[in-house]
Protein backbone atom coordinates (compact mmCIF):
# COMPACT_ATOMS: atom_id res chain seq x y z
CA UNK A 1 0.00 0.00 0.00
CA UNK A 2 1.55 3.30 -0.97
CA UNK A 3 -0.43 5.73 1.07
CA UNK A 4 -2.76 5.01 3.91
CA UNK A 5 -2.51 6.71 7.22
CA UNK A 6 -1.57 4.54 10.12
CA UNK A 7 -4.63 3.24 11.90
CA UNK A 8 -5.25 4.98 15.23
CA UNK A 9 -4.53 1.86 17.28
CA UNK A 10 -1.08 1.65 15.71
CA UNK A 11 -0.36 5.29 16.42
CA UNK A 12 -1.22 4.73 20.07
CA UNK A 13 0.72 1.50 20.19
CA UNK A 14 3.81 3.24 18.81
CA UNK A 15 3.53 6.16 21.19
CA UNK A 16 3.33 3.90 24.23
CA UNK A 17 6.08 1.59 22.93
CA UNK A 18 8.35 4.57 22.43
CA UNK A 19 7.74 5.79 25.95
CA UNK A 20 8.44 2.37 27.40
CA UNK A 21 11.65 1.89 25.43
CA UNK A 22 13.09 5.28 26.27
CA UNK A 23 12.13 4.96 29.91
CA UNK A 24 9.30 7.50 29.93
CA UNK A 25 7.12 4.91 31.60
CA UNK A 26 8.95 2.94 34.24
CA UNK A 27 9.37 -0.82 34.25
CA UNK A 28 6.62 -2.38 36.29
CA UNK A 29 4.67 0.85 36.12
CA UNK A 30 0.92 0.66 35.67
CA UNK A 31 -0.76 1.91 32.52
CA UNK A 32 -4.16 3.60 32.58
CA UNK A 33 -7.10 1.22 32.18
CA UNK A 34 -8.38 0.68 28.65
CA UNK A 35 -11.55 2.64 29.32
CA UNK A 36 -9.79 5.48 31.09
CA UNK A 37 -7.30 5.87 28.26
CA UNK A 38 -10.08 5.71 25.66
CA UNK A 39 -11.87 8.55 27.42
CA UNK A 40 -8.74 10.58 27.83
CA UNK A 41 -7.87 10.30 24.14
CA UNK A 42 -11.48 10.55 22.95
CA UNK A 43 -11.28 7.29 21.03
CA UNK A 44 -13.21 4.05 21.12
CA UNK A 45 -12.65 1.31 23.67
CA UNK A 46 -11.95 -1.29 21.00
CA UNK A 47 -9.27 0.85 19.40
CA UNK A 48 -7.52 1.23 22.74
CA UNK A 49 -7.91 -2.47 23.44
CA UNK A 50 -6.19 -3.32 20.14
CA UNK A 51 -3.25 -1.07 20.96
CA UNK A 52 -2.84 -2.81 24.33
CA UNK A 53 -3.16 -6.25 22.75
CA UNK A 54 -0.42 -5.38 20.28
CA UNK A 55 1.84 -4.16 23.07
CA UNK A 56 1.17 -7.33 24.99
CA UNK A 57 2.00 -9.52 21.98
CA UNK A 58 5.24 -7.62 21.56
CA UNK A 59 6.11 -8.36 25.16
CA UNK A 60 6.14 -4.73 26.17
CA UNK A 61 3.30 -4.90 28.67
CA UNK A 62 1.65 -7.58 30.78
CA UNK A 63 -1.98 -7.83 31.65
CA UNK A 64 -2.70 -8.86 35.21
CA UNK A 65 -6.31 -10.05 35.39
CA UNK A 66 -8.33 -7.90 37.77
CA UNK A 67 -5.52 -5.42 38.20
CA UNK A 68 -4.74 -3.90 34.85
CA UNK A 69 -1.78 -3.45 32.55
CA UNK A 70 1.84 -3.09 33.60
CA UNK A 71 5.08 -2.39 31.77
CA UNK A 72 6.91 -5.71 31.37
CA UNK A 73 9.98 -6.39 33.45
CA UNK A 74 11.38 -8.35 30.53
CA UNK A 75 14.82 -8.14 29.14
CA UNK A 76 15.04 -4.66 27.78
CA UNK A 77 18.01 -5.57 25.65
CA UNK A 78 15.91 -7.95 23.62
CA UNK A 79 13.46 -5.15 22.98
CA UNK A 80 16.21 -2.76 22.04
CA UNK A 81 17.59 -5.32 19.62
CA UNK A 82 14.19 -5.61 18.04
CA UNK A 83 13.91 -1.88 17.71
CA UNK A 84 17.42 -1.67 16.22
CA UNK A 85 16.57 -4.36 13.69
CA UNK A 86 13.54 -2.29 12.72
CA UNK A 87 15.74 0.79 12.28
CA UNK A 88 18.14 -1.17 10.09
CA UNK A 89 15.32 -2.24 7.84
CA UNK A 90 14.26 1.39 7.50
CA UNK A 91 17.82 2.41 6.72
CA UNK A 92 18.03 -0.25 4.00
CA UNK A 93 14.85 1.07 2.46
CA UNK A 94 16.23 4.58 2.56
CA UNK A 95 19.41 3.47 0.82
CA UNK A 96 17.35 1.78 -1.87
CA UNK A 97 15.34 4.96 -2.40
CA UNK A 98 18.50 7.07 -2.52
CA UNK A 99 20.04 4.82 -5.18
CA UNK A 100 16.94 5.26 -7.31
CA UNK A 101 17.62 8.97 -7.41
CA UNK A 102 21.31 8.52 -8.14
CA UNK A 103 22.72 9.50 -4.77
CA UNK A 104 26.27 8.22 -4.29
CA UNK A 105 27.56 6.48 -1.17
CA UNK A 106 29.81 9.44 -0.46
CA UNK A 107 26.99 11.91 -0.67
CA UNK A 108 24.92 9.83 1.72
CA UNK A 109 27.74 9.38 4.21
CA UNK A 110 28.43 13.11 4.16
CA UNK A 111 24.79 13.93 4.86
CA UNK A 112 24.52 11.36 7.62
CA UNK A 113 27.68 12.68 9.27
CA UNK A 114 26.44 16.23 9.04
CA UNK A 115 23.05 15.54 10.60
CA UNK A 116 24.36 13.09 13.15
CA UNK A 117 26.71 15.76 14.51
CA UNK A 118 24.04 18.42 14.62
CA UNK A 119 22.39 16.93 17.68
Amino acid sequence: MNSADQPIYQQIRNQIAEQILNGGIEEGGQLPSIRALAKELGISVITTKRAYEDLENDGLIDSVPGKGFFVSLHDKNALRKKQLAELQTQLKQLIGESKKYGMTLNQMVLLIKKWYMED
Partner: protein, 289 residues
Protein backbone atom coordinates in the same frame (compact mmCIF):
# COMPACT_ATOMS: atom_id res chain seq x y z
CA UNK B 1 -25.25 -12.84 28.66
CA UNK B 2 -23.06 -10.15 27.15
CA UNK B 3 -25.53 -8.70 24.68
CA UNK B 4 -27.36 -5.73 26.10
CA UNK B 5 -29.36 -5.19 22.92
CA UNK B 6 -30.17 -7.80 20.34
CA UNK B 7 -32.50 -7.60 17.35
CA UNK B 8 -33.24 -10.82 15.54
CA UNK B 9 -35.09 -10.99 12.26
CA UNK B 10 -37.21 -7.94 12.94
CA UNK B 11 -39.74 -7.23 10.22
CA UNK B 12 -42.15 -4.36 10.03
CA UNK B 13 -43.91 -3.13 6.94
CA UNK B 14 -45.62 0.13 6.27
CA UNK B 15 -47.06 1.50 3.07
CA UNK B 16 -44.10 1.91 0.78
CA UNK B 17 -41.43 1.07 3.35
CA UNK B 18 -40.37 -1.99 5.31
CA UNK B 19 -37.77 -3.06 7.81
CA UNK B 20 -36.58 -6.29 6.27
CA UNK B 21 -35.10 -8.99 8.50
CA UNK B 22 -33.19 -6.57 10.71
CA UNK B 23 -30.68 -8.33 12.97
CA UNK B 24 -27.72 -7.01 14.97
CA UNK B 25 -26.51 -6.96 18.54
CA UNK B 26 -24.57 -4.75 20.92
CA UNK B 27 -22.39 -5.94 23.79
CA UNK B 28 -22.15 -4.34 27.21
CA UNK B 29 -19.42 -1.78 27.61
CA UNK B 30 -19.44 -0.51 24.04
CA UNK B 31 -20.75 2.23 21.79
CA UNK B 32 -22.56 1.46 18.55
CA UNK B 33 -23.26 4.03 15.87
CA UNK B 34 -26.28 3.44 13.67
CA UNK B 35 -25.87 5.09 10.31
CA UNK B 36 -27.66 5.32 6.99
CA UNK B 37 -29.09 7.98 4.69
CA UNK B 38 -32.35 9.76 5.45
CA UNK B 39 -35.31 7.46 5.14
CA UNK B 40 -33.23 4.28 5.48
CA UNK B 41 -35.08 3.16 8.60
CA UNK B 42 -32.94 4.43 11.48
CA UNK B 43 -35.73 6.08 13.45
CA UNK B 44 -38.16 3.28 12.65
CA UNK B 45 -35.71 0.71 13.99
CA UNK B 46 -35.27 2.70 17.18
CA UNK B 47 -39.03 3.07 17.55
CA UNK B 48 -39.31 -0.71 17.17
CA UNK B 49 -36.70 -1.26 19.90
CA UNK B 50 -38.66 1.02 22.23
CA UNK B 51 -41.90 -0.74 21.23
CA UNK B 52 -43.40 2.56 20.10
CA UNK B 53 -44.11 0.73 16.86
CA UNK B 54 -45.16 -2.90 17.13
CA UNK B 55 -43.09 -5.24 15.02
CA UNK B 56 -44.71 -7.75 12.64
CA UNK B 57 -42.28 -10.55 13.41
CA UNK B 58 -38.91 -11.24 14.98
CA UNK B 59 -37.70 -10.37 18.46
CA UNK B 60 -35.92 -7.64 20.36
CA UNK B 61 -33.97 -8.62 23.46
CA UNK B 62 -32.94 -6.04 26.02
CA UNK B 63 -30.59 -6.98 28.87
CA UNK B 64 -31.00 -10.59 27.76
CA UNK B 65 -34.78 -10.61 27.98
CA UNK B 66 -37.36 -10.48 25.23
CA UNK B 67 -39.14 -7.13 25.26
CA UNK B 68 -42.48 -8.78 24.73
CA UNK B 69 -44.72 -8.20 27.77
CA UNK B 70 -41.69 -6.79 29.51
CA UNK B 71 -41.05 -3.47 27.91
CA UNK B 72 -42.31 -1.36 30.80
CA UNK B 73 -39.84 -2.77 33.29
CA UNK B 74 -37.04 -2.82 30.75
CA UNK B 75 -37.58 0.83 29.84
CA UNK B 76 -36.67 1.79 33.40
CA UNK B 77 -33.16 0.69 32.53
CA UNK B 78 -32.98 2.64 29.27
CA UNK B 79 -32.13 6.30 28.81
CA UNK B 80 -33.86 7.40 25.64
CA UNK B 81 -33.30 10.55 23.61
CA UNK B 82 -35.80 11.16 20.82
CA UNK B 83 -35.23 13.18 17.70
CA UNK B 84 -38.42 15.12 18.27
CA UNK B 85 -40.04 17.22 20.96
CA UNK B 86 -41.42 15.20 23.83
CA UNK B 87 -41.54 17.83 26.55
CA UNK B 88 -44.36 20.08 27.66
CA UNK B 89 -43.64 23.19 25.66
CA UNK B 90 -45.54 25.54 27.96
CA UNK B 91 -43.80 24.39 31.11
CA UNK B 92 -40.36 25.37 32.33
CA UNK B 93 -37.47 22.93 32.34
CA UNK B 94 -37.79 22.53 36.12
CA UNK B 95 -41.52 21.75 35.89
CA UNK B 96 -40.96 19.31 33.07
CA UNK B 97 -38.49 17.51 35.26
CA UNK B 98 -41.06 17.29 38.07
CA UNK B 99 -43.49 15.65 35.66
CA UNK B 100 -40.95 13.21 34.24
CA UNK B 101 -38.97 12.20 37.33
CA UNK B 102 -41.72 10.17 39.08
CA UNK B 103 -41.90 7.80 36.12
CA UNK B 104 -38.45 6.51 36.96
CA UNK B 105 -37.90 4.37 40.04
CA UNK B 106 -34.22 5.22 40.15
CA UNK B 107 -34.41 8.93 39.34
CA UNK B 108 -31.44 10.84 40.77
CA UNK B 109 -31.86 14.59 41.24
CA UNK B 110 -28.20 15.12 42.08
CA UNK B 111 -27.07 13.73 38.73
CA UNK B 112 -29.78 15.64 36.90
CA UNK B 113 -28.83 19.02 38.33
CA UNK B 114 -25.16 18.29 37.78
CA UNK B 115 -25.75 17.72 34.05
CA UNK B 116 -28.10 20.70 33.78
CA UNK B 117 -25.34 22.86 35.19
CA UNK B 118 -22.65 21.23 33.07
CA UNK B 119 -24.74 21.60 29.91
CA UNK B 120 -25.84 25.15 30.78
CA UNK B 121 -29.59 24.52 30.50
CA UNK B 122 -31.74 27.31 32.05
CA UNK B 123 -34.15 25.70 34.55
CA UNK B 124 -36.62 28.59 34.66
CA UNK B 125 -37.19 28.95 30.92
CA UNK B 126 -40.17 27.45 29.16
CA UNK B 127 -39.18 24.58 26.90
CA UNK B 128 -40.67 26.31 23.85
CA UNK B 129 -38.19 29.15 24.36
CA UNK B 130 -35.18 26.82 24.20
CA UNK B 131 -33.08 26.37 21.08
CA UNK B 132 -33.00 22.97 19.42
CA UNK B 133 -29.56 22.30 20.84
CA UNK B 134 -30.57 23.24 24.39
CA UNK B 135 -33.65 21.01 24.18
CA UNK B 136 -31.36 18.18 23.15
CA UNK B 137 -29.12 18.88 26.13
CA UNK B 138 -32.13 18.79 28.44
CA UNK B 139 -33.26 15.48 26.90
CA UNK B 140 -29.78 14.11 27.38
CA UNK B 141 -29.70 15.18 31.03
CA UNK B 142 -33.01 13.36 31.57
CA UNK B 143 -31.72 10.23 29.83
CA UNK B 144 -28.63 10.18 32.02
CA UNK B 145 -30.37 10.84 35.34
CA UNK B 146 -32.00 7.55 36.22
CA UNK B 147 -29.03 5.19 36.26
CA UNK B 148 -29.87 3.76 32.86
CA UNK B 149 -27.69 0.90 31.70
CA UNK B 150 -28.44 1.37 28.02
CA UNK B 151 -28.57 4.80 26.39
CA UNK B 152 -30.47 4.93 23.10
CA UNK B 153 -30.40 8.15 21.13
CA UNK B 154 -32.00 9.09 17.85
CA UNK B 155 -29.89 11.68 16.05
CA UNK B 156 -28.57 13.29 19.24
CA UNK B 157 -25.95 15.38 17.49
CA UNK B 158 -28.19 17.07 14.96
CA UNK B 159 -28.84 20.66 15.96
CA UNK B 160 -25.77 20.74 18.17
CA UNK B 161 -22.78 22.94 17.50
CA UNK B 162 -19.38 21.26 17.10
CA UNK B 163 -18.25 22.33 20.56
CA UNK B 164 -21.11 20.61 22.32
CA UNK B 165 -20.89 17.60 19.99
CA UNK B 166 -17.37 17.12 21.29
CA UNK B 167 -18.60 17.47 24.87
CA UNK B 168 -21.34 14.95 24.19
CA UNK B 169 -18.80 12.41 23.03
CA UNK B 170 -16.90 12.97 26.27
CA UNK B 171 -20.09 12.31 28.22
CA UNK B 172 -20.68 9.11 26.28
CA UNK B 173 -17.16 7.86 26.94
CA UNK B 174 -17.79 8.72 30.57
CA UNK B 175 -20.91 6.56 30.65
CA UNK B 176 -19.07 3.48 29.38
CA UNK B 177 -16.36 3.80 32.00
CA UNK B 178 -18.83 1.42 33.62
CA UNK B 179 -18.37 -1.66 31.49
CA UNK B 180 -21.89 -2.88 32.20
CA UNK B 181 -23.37 -0.01 30.26
CA UNK B 182 -23.73 0.56 26.54
CA UNK B 183 -24.75 3.25 24.09
CA UNK B 184 -26.63 2.98 20.83
CA UNK B 185 -27.15 6.06 18.73
CA UNK B 186 -28.22 6.93 15.24
CA UNK B 187 -26.70 9.77 13.33
CA UNK B 188 -25.91 11.02 9.88
CA UNK B 189 -22.94 13.05 11.10
CA UNK B 190 -20.37 10.32 10.77
CA UNK B 191 -17.29 12.30 11.77
CA UNK B 192 -18.51 12.29 15.37
CA UNK B 193 -18.74 8.56 15.36
CA UNK B 194 -15.49 7.74 13.74
CA UNK B 195 -13.47 8.15 16.88
CA UNK B 196 -15.70 6.91 19.68
CA UNK B 197 -17.82 4.16 18.14
CA UNK B 198 -16.71 0.60 18.73
CA UNK B 199 -19.27 -0.78 16.30
CA UNK B 200 -21.01 0.60 13.23
CA UNK B 201 -24.30 -0.71 11.96
CA UNK B 202 -25.33 0.52 8.55
CA UNK B 203 -28.93 0.41 7.40
CA UNK B 204 -30.02 1.08 3.84
CA UNK B 205 -33.54 0.84 2.52
CA UNK B 206 -34.77 -1.07 5.58
CA UNK B 207 -32.00 -3.69 5.41
CA UNK B 208 -28.84 -3.99 7.47
CA UNK B 209 -25.86 -3.79 5.10
CA UNK B 210 -23.34 -4.52 7.81
CA UNK B 211 -22.79 -4.43 11.55
CA UNK B 212 -19.07 -4.45 12.24
CA UNK B 213 -16.31 -3.33 14.52
CA UNK B 214 -15.20 0.13 13.45
CA UNK B 215 -11.59 -1.09 13.32
CA UNK B 216 -12.49 -3.94 10.96
CA UNK B 217 -14.43 -1.57 8.77
CA UNK B 218 -11.36 0.47 7.99
CA UNK B 219 -9.70 -2.73 6.77
CA UNK B 220 -12.71 -4.09 4.95
CA UNK B 221 -12.81 -1.27 2.42
CA UNK B 222 -10.23 0.75 0.57
CA UNK B 223 -10.48 3.75 -1.68
CA UNK B 224 -8.52 3.36 -4.91
CA UNK B 225 -7.59 6.41 -6.94
CA UNK B 226 -5.90 6.47 -10.30
CA UNK B 227 -5.67 7.94 -13.79
CA UNK B 228 -8.22 7.29 -16.52
CA UNK B 229 -5.78 4.91 -18.20
CA UNK B 230 -6.13 2.44 -15.33
CA UNK B 231 -9.87 2.56 -15.22
CA UNK B 232 -10.52 -0.62 -17.18
CA UNK B 233 -8.25 -2.61 -14.89
CA UNK B 234 -10.15 -1.37 -11.89
CA UNK B 235 -13.48 -2.08 -13.46
CA UNK B 236 -12.30 -5.64 -14.06
CA UNK B 237 -11.43 -5.99 -10.38
CA UNK B 238 -15.04 -5.66 -9.24
CA UNK B 239 -15.18 -2.30 -7.49
CA UNK B 240 -18.16 -1.74 -5.24
CA UNK B 241 -18.70 1.59 -6.87
CA UNK B 242 -16.65 3.86 -9.09
CA UNK B 243 -16.75 7.57 -9.75
CA UNK B 244 -15.02 9.53 -12.49
CA UNK B 245 -13.31 12.73 -11.48
CA UNK B 246 -11.55 15.39 -13.52
CA UNK B 247 -8.22 13.82 -12.57
CA UNK B 248 -9.17 10.23 -13.20
CA UNK B 249 -11.33 8.04 -11.05
CA UNK B 250 -12.01 7.03 -7.50
CA UNK B 251 -13.43 3.64 -6.52
CA UNK B 252 -14.45 1.96 -3.31
CA UNK B 253 -13.27 -1.63 -3.21
CA UNK B 254 -13.24 -4.54 -0.82
CA UNK B 255 -9.97 -4.31 1.07
CA UNK B 256 -8.74 -7.70 -0.06
CA UNK B 257 -9.31 -7.05 -3.74
CA UNK B 258 -7.86 -3.57 -3.55
CA UNK B 259 -4.67 -4.85 -1.92
CA UNK B 260 -4.07 -7.14 -4.89
CA UNK B 261 -3.79 -4.02 -7.03
CA UNK B 262 -1.46 -2.32 -4.58
CA UNK B 263 1.71 -3.05 -6.54
CA UNK B 264 0.64 -0.94 -9.46
CA UNK B 265 2.44 2.32 -9.03
CA UNK B 266 -0.15 4.39 -10.88
CA UNK B 267 -2.78 3.54 -8.30
CA UNK B 268 -3.18 5.21 -4.97
CA UNK B 269 -4.81 3.41 -2.05
CA UNK B 270 -6.44 5.22 0.81
CA UNK B 271 -8.33 4.35 3.94
CA UNK B 272 -11.86 5.64 3.37
CA UNK B 273 -13.69 7.49 6.11
CA UNK B 274 -17.21 6.52 7.13
CA UNK B 275 -18.74 9.19 4.92
CA UNK B 276 -16.99 7.81 1.87
CA UNK B 277 -17.97 4.23 2.71
CA UNK B 278 -21.56 5.34 3.16
CA UNK B 279 -21.55 7.38 -0.04
CA UNK B 280 -20.25 4.60 -2.26
CA UNK B 281 -22.39 1.89 -0.70
CA UNK B 282 -25.50 3.99 -1.16
CA UNK B 283 -24.42 4.67 -4.75
CA UNK B 284 -24.09 0.99 -5.53
CA UNK B 285 -27.43 0.26 -3.94
CA UNK B 286 -27.92 -3.27 -5.19
CA UNK B 287 -24.87 -4.55 -3.34
CA UNK B 288 -24.78 -8.07 -1.91
CA UNK B 289 -24.61 -8.37 1.80
Amino acid sequence: MDDILELSHVNKSFKGFALDDVSFSLKKGYIMGFIGPNGAGKSTTIRCIMDLVHIDSGDVRLFGESFKNNIKALKQRIGFVYDQDVFFEELTVEKNKRVIAPFYERWDDDIFYRYIKEFDVPLDKKVKALSKGTKMKFALAVALSHHAELIIMDEPTSGLDPVFRKELLDVLLDVIQDENKAIFFSTHITTDLEKVADYITFILDGKILFSKEMEDLSEAYLLVKGPRSAESEIKAAHPISIKETSLGFEALMEGKEARELADQSNLHLERPNLDEIMYYLVKSNGINR
